[in-house]
Amino acid sequence: MSFELETAKEPEKLKRVVIEPVSRVEGHGKVTILLDDENRVHQVRLHIVEFRGFEKFIQGRPYWEAPVMVQRLCGICPVSHHLAAAKAIDQLVGAKHLTPTAEKLRRLMHYGQVLQSHALHFFHLASPDLLFGFDSDVAKRNIVGVAAAYPEIAKQGVFLRKFGQEVIRMTAGKRVHGTGAIPGGMNKNLSREERDALLKDIYPVVAASREAVALIKKVYTGNLAFHSTFGYFKSNTLGLVGPDGALDLYHGGLRAKDASGETVFDHVDYSRYSDYINEEVKNWSYMKFPFILSLGSEEGWYKVGPLARVVNCDSISTPLAEVERREFVAYGGGFPIHSPLAYHWARMIEMLHCAESIKDILHDDDVLGDDLVVQGERALEGVGVIEAPRGTLFHHYRIDENDLITMANLIVSTTSNNNAMNEAVRQVAKQYLDGHQVSEGLLNHIEVAIRAFDPCLSCATHALGKMPLMLELLDCEGRLLDRVYKAADGSVASLMS
């Protein structure tokens, strides 16, 4: 796990290529590439240049506000922040075990969230690259192009996402930024009418999810040599697993494995996360670089999210997803799969798992119950961890005796994938840029590598792939040689000619 290409020896003598904005993390990111006169790559960095400040401005606020306030970090996966914060706040109010109704409603909300987010990413954002090719006609490489060429696939994406959003609305009150989870439980159950409405669609949702797995499997294995080597790198992996080692997106213990699949730690109580994970700060990014403490910052960085989770777990509790997991894992030949593009495949397996889990919960009458909240002995510190669509999400709060928050620490999924995304971008730059002229196709290769992780960076790509890019080519004196601009409509123009 080298940091080759992170820092060039003599950067002042190199040409600097800047891609800005790559996208946003509710803000902005950029890629910088340093090239010599022969266009050999010497340094590549994905910078997150946005500063949010949520950890600061929640200080002094009452703790019961946290699940509703902090979810505003994101418009794509607010449910994940809502529930991670709620789990932390549960500890503050002494709710060690939620009622069966509350736990199942929260799980339902969470599965709906992961399902809609995964559907959005795969169908709307990733499928144009995968179906048309990374450097295909830019005018068609978007969801509108997919809708024209593959209308049934586009409709499936819309259908799945809509269903997930409805699950969220019925459990949280709104499709985006609801209030369902409160300290110690939930503020509403499902009515029979709501449950029946969801049941009406759940079997087509499961079927559509199966078809999505089949589609990505066909695409991925259809050009296995390319897809499995694109941006390839090895790393540790981290995720939550249940007591039996099964995938658990809502609750469990922390499991980390090294690049060869050997266990680093397992079933760790996540409230002790700081004994196992630390964060490094680098002077070129506002985003921290988390690492496994026992392995150190050089060797301990890890990836999270669908690929990490699916290779990390021993099984998946729902039968259809488990069959798919086994087939997926078999492609590793006994070793963990590390190919960034395999994230797409793993993501669809998780989506199928969510669809099956929603079906099971909807058939459980507990979701109609009225026993919604528990409380116990109050505490001054709480940690909540959940598997968000993009990976492990940590929320940690301390309060004072007046119920006001004094400290908040959030490690969001995209942060955990910081080094991994940087490494993927470096590998792609080395594979496809080294010694070549910059082109729109190359720019999209870099986007494809970043997009595989579905980072919150892709808040911009979530806007139908309209990721505006500005690429500048400077000589070693800092003189501008060329400037290429990719507009939101996908058109590319040299601004210097």
Partner: protein, 245 residues
């Protein structure tokens, strides 16, 4: 019966409100008579249980061409009152916008959202933006009371808590201190902390806050979205219907 009722109404003094004839009892204000007749005049600092205050100016109406606060102006025989006019509603919208920008009102994560009169009034008056520059004042959140939170960021200085504490609770917990834009809610304790006052969570002063400034601790967001007071009703519906809200 109908004839007797009609006769009694015809004997009462009356005035005209937006062209509608409203009867009133001696001592009633324009606001009292309007609410009794089910006619809504926008307001925030007025509450039927407490003596009028006349400070928010949202209930301003035109009487014989002059602007007056309807919550303090006694109704009089033959008055011609204008209430629901574009000019008055525009002024009310501007006043509401000023209230939003001079405090720190963040509806998206405020637990009073959906039950807040300021927010409901903003919707009713079709306020689409704050319009004015935000003051972003530095205001204290007082969590010192074991059961009540005081968040001065959301206070609109309506003094309903002041009146409730004095007139109903028989205490003197709240008051306004300072002047002009420096006006702020203070509490009656040498430390300045709510926890050092004799406020009880059951006091009327805790219940009456129209915004999210005075709240019961540890009870946020318990009413689901869709079941909150103003989720399906406007503030006009609520305040001219079963209850004042």
């Amino acid at each position: 019966m109908r004839r007797i009722w009609a006769l009694s109404m015809s004997l009462k003094p009356s005035f005209s409100l937006d062209g509608q004839t409203l009867a009133f009892l001696s001592g009633q204000t324009i606001m009292d008579a309007a609410l009794a007749a089910g006619v809504y005049i926008p307001h925030l600092c007025h509450h039927p249980e407490f003596k009028p205050h006349g400070s928010c100016k949202l209930c301003t109406v035109k009487v014989n061409g002059r602007n007056v606060a309807s919550c303090t102006m006694p109704a009089a025989e033959g008055m011609v009152v204008l209430n629901d006019t574009p000019e008055l509603n525009e002024a009310r919208r501007a006043l509401t916008q000023m209230l939003f920008v001079e405090g720190n009102h963040f509806c998206p994560f405020c637990e009073k959202s959906g039950n807040c009169q300021l927010q409901a009034l903003g919707y009713f008056l079709e306020m689409l933006s704050p319009h004015y520059n935000h003051f972003y004042p530095q205001r204290e959140v007082d969590g010192s009371h074991p059961e009540v939170l005081l968040d001065r960021n959301r206070c609109i200085m309506c003094e309903l808590c002041v009146r409730a504490s004095q007139d109903v609770d028989g205490k003197n917990v709240f008051a306004l201190g300072g002047r002009g834009v420096h006006t702020h809610l203070i509490v009656n304790a040498p430390s300045g902390k709510l926890g050092d006052t004799d406020l009880a969570v059951s006091d009327r002063a805790v219940q009456v806050c129209p915004v999210g400034a005075i709240l019961k601790k540890r009870h946020g967001f318990e009413v689901p979205i869709g079941q909150r007071l103003y989720d399906h009703k406007t503030i006009k519906d609520v305040q001219t219907g079963d209850g004042h809200g």
